[in-house]
């Protein structure tokens, strides 16, 4: 009987058996051929991802870490210089400027994203006609290639582009968005927000839909109004999602590179030279690979620290 069921669909006993096999394998107790077979099968399933991770992630990271202690210009052999690169960075005003540009960009993009994306998700979570079409439309910005987005926005920000044409109809003069120190970074931030909202909106939406409607109904009967339900029911139950969105949005914002490269080349006057662009420029324009690697390490430590803080908050904010 068991066997019969096992062929067509997964029976509870089959799940139990598999779980016990896996457990014993994990505990190192497996001796039979089935156990060793399982062990190898599992290993081979993970292998491609493992190879990718080692070759394309861990190895370059380790190499960058090593390189950060060398002077290297891609022509002559690397020379060990100890902490010289870190000292150079510390003394380099451009690095400081880049760091703060990155911080500004990161929070400038992320914070509005958290709120707008939540607003969008709340809107899309309501019953309304054509909801599926609207959801799809909002998701389009993510589906577009990043380089295409950068090019299109570059044209839109052009003194004779769409943005200025629209502003002109409101009586606001033409602005050379990407060439002015005051407006270049905000212009890039606006694109970042525009592109991030749908992605994080969809994540929020999934979080909202995972909240059983009974909680809201119980709150309605308990006498909670719309705002009270939002603050006492929706927000606490959405907290894990909110934390996830916060981590993800900050990390993705700080890694921005293509938009400054295509649209401003870090200018004007370094006001859009975010850290990844600084690293690229130092390494591949000035051929100071060691210094670029050291800057990468600083960025890595910064992101790592930020993630740790947020994961801690996430654990604390987690629902009991």
């Amino acid at each position: 009987m068991d066997r019969e069921i096992g062929v067509g669909r997964t029976s509870p006993s089959m799940v139990r058996r598999s779980a016990s096999l896996l457990w014993r394998w994990g505990a190192g107790g497996g001796k039979s051929s089935l156990h060793s077979h399982l062990r190898w099968a599992g290993f081979f399933f993970v292998l491609p991802a493992l190879i990718h991770l080692v070759i394309f992630k861990f190895y370059p990271m380790l190499q960058a870490f090593r390189l950060s202690f060398f002077r290297y210009d891609l022509m002559s052999p690397p020379v060990f210089t100890g902490l010289e690169n870190y000292k150079l960075l510390w003394e380099n005003p451009l690095f400081h400027q880049s760091f703060w540009v990155s911080v500004k960009y990161m929070f400038g993009v992320s914070i509005p994203e958290w709120f707008f994306a939540l607003g969008l998700a709340l809107l899309l979570n309501r019953r309304m006609p054509g909801r599926a079409v609207i959801r799809l439309a909002y998701f389009f910005p993510i589906a577009m290639s990043q380089i295409v987005v950068a090019m299109v926005w570059k044209f839109m920000y052009h003194p004779f582009g769409l943005v200025n044409t629209i502003l002109e109809t409101f009586g606001i003069g033409r602005i050379n968005w990407l060439s002015m120190e005051e407006s270049a970074l905000p212009a890039l931030i606006a694109i970042g927000i525009w592109r991030g909202i749908p992605l994080f909106g969809v994540i929020y939406l999934a979080g909202l839909q995972a909240i059983p409607k009974e909680y809201h109904e119980a709150a309605v009967i308990d006498g909670a109004g719309v705002f009270q339900r939002f603050f006492y029911v929706t927000i606490p139950l959405l907290l894990p999602t909110i934390m996830f969105v916060m981590v993800l949005s900050l990390l993705s914002a700080v890694k921005v590179f293509l938009n400054p490269l295509v649209m401003t080349e870090g200018g004007p006057n370094g006001t859009t030279r975010v850290l990844p662009y600084f690293i690229y420029e130092t390494g591949f324009a000035f051929f100071r690979m060691g210094e670029a690697a050291a800057a990468s390490m600083v960025l890595f430590v910064f992101l790592f620290g930020l993630t740790l803080i947020q994961l801690r908050l996430l654990r604390r904010g987690g629902v009991e």
């Binding site: 059983p212 009974e214 119980a218 009967i221 308990d222 006498g223 109004g225 139950l237 629902v319």
Partner: protein, 359 residues
């Protein structure tokens, strides 16, 4: 006070009519059970009373006040949900206090009420815990506590015992009844479990396809079902139904079919007037038959199910299946031919077309 009146209450979801012209008066302090299979409209009716579902037509009145356009918050009604709906991020205390807090009740008053309700339910020690750390039974009590602290005029229960295991369900059923006696508040209880309905309700409202089939005290509904649906839905094992023909012979009325010929007492046969030779559905409950060599029903034993206190016999009567309850001392073997005597006072007959009760 807590007198609820449903007047021509109707709810449709587009083409589907979930509740159809329900009329029902629920008296103050009464425990009324809405009973029926899934999709019969019982939960929709309850949700309309709670204000969670809009009313398509008809009226709901609580103590003569029309509730149709009253916000759920202002209806003075508390509800216990099937899955309890306890806020997972709030302690038991906060869960119970939430409704009062939203109504801006003073803190010390909230404290007094929560502790008093916790005392009634025996959950004082759980107040600091979170719902995730509670057992099913404990959650159930907290959900009740959340309703009690509000001191509402009407309690609504949406299958509150269905998530508990069988033993706990019986235990909680008794406790709920005690609680009802203690609080004496109007309670409307939805369930698909007829045992729950029979044991708990002052009155049972049997619903089917959005329509009330019968309203009455449990034993009345059990003994005098209004139609074949009610007869079949209430009782476990359910009533036996066998196709039969009406015969009048020598001034007596008989229900005749393959393997049985039941004489009906004259005072019970009036519903069959003018149906001579007509088809009806003969109905008899398993416990309304007894073994006897003179019995009017003859069948072969197919399955013997001893349940401890009794034995259920599954018989083949003229090709149809019939369940009879016999004493546990009876010894039977499979394939044996037996005769059963049907209690004439407990014999039912239904119209095969409409299901309406004839006898």
């Amino acid at each position: 006070m807590g007198e609820v009146l449903l007047e021509d209450l109707t709810k449709d979801f587009g083409e589907v009519v979930a509740v159809k012209e329900v009329n029902l008066m629920i008296h103050d302090g009464e425990f009324v059970v809405l009973l029926g299979p899934s999709g019969c409209g019982k939960t929709t009716t309850l949700r309309m009373i709670a204000g969670l579902e809009e009313i398509t037509s008809g009226r709901i009145l609580l103590d003569e006040r029309v509730l149709n356009d009253v916000h759920p918050r202002d209806r003075d009604i508390a509800m216990v949900f099937q899955n309890y709906a306890l806020y997972p991020h709030m302690s038991v205390y906060k869960n119970m206090a939430f409704g009062l807090k939203m109504r801006k009740v003073a803190k010390d008053e909230i404290d007094r009420k929560v502790k008093s309700a916790a005392g009634i339910l025996g959950i004082e020690t759980l107040l600091g815990r979170y719902p995730g750390k509670l057992s099913g039974g404990q959650r159930q009590r907290v959900a009740l506590g959340r309703a009690i602290v509000r001191d509402p005029r009407v309690f609504l229960f949406d299958e509150p015992l269905s998530n508990l295991d069988a033993k706990l369900r019986v235990q909680t059923r008794v406790e709920l009844l005690k609680l009802h006696q203690h609080l004496a508040a109007t309670s409307i209880y939805v369930t698909h479990d007829q045992v729950e309905a029979m044991t708990m309700g002052d009155r049972i409202v049997v619903m089917h396809e959005g329509v009330i089939q019968q309203v009455g005290p449990p034993m009345e509904v059990y003994q005098n079902p209004a139609n074949q649906f009610v007869a079949g839905f209430i009782g476990s094992p359910s009533m036996n139904f066998l196709p039969a023909t009406v015969r009048f012979e020598a001034g007596r009325t008989f229900l005749e079919g393959a393997g049985f010929r039941i004489p009906l007492p004259a005072e019970r046969a009036s519903g069959l007037q003018g149906r001579e030779g007509g088809e009806v559905v003969f109905g008899i409950r398993p416990e309304d038959m007894r073994l006897g060599s003179e019995g009017e029903i003859e069948g072969a034993v197919e399955i013997i199910e001893p349940v401890g206190s009794d034995i259920f016999l599954d018989l083949n009567v003229g090709g149809a299946s019939l369940t009879a309850r016999v004493e546990s001392s009876v010894r039977m073997s499979q394939g044996e031919h037996v005769r059963l005597h049907a209690d004439p006072a407990r014999v039912h007959a239904f119209d095969p077309e409409t299901g309406e009760t004839l006898v």
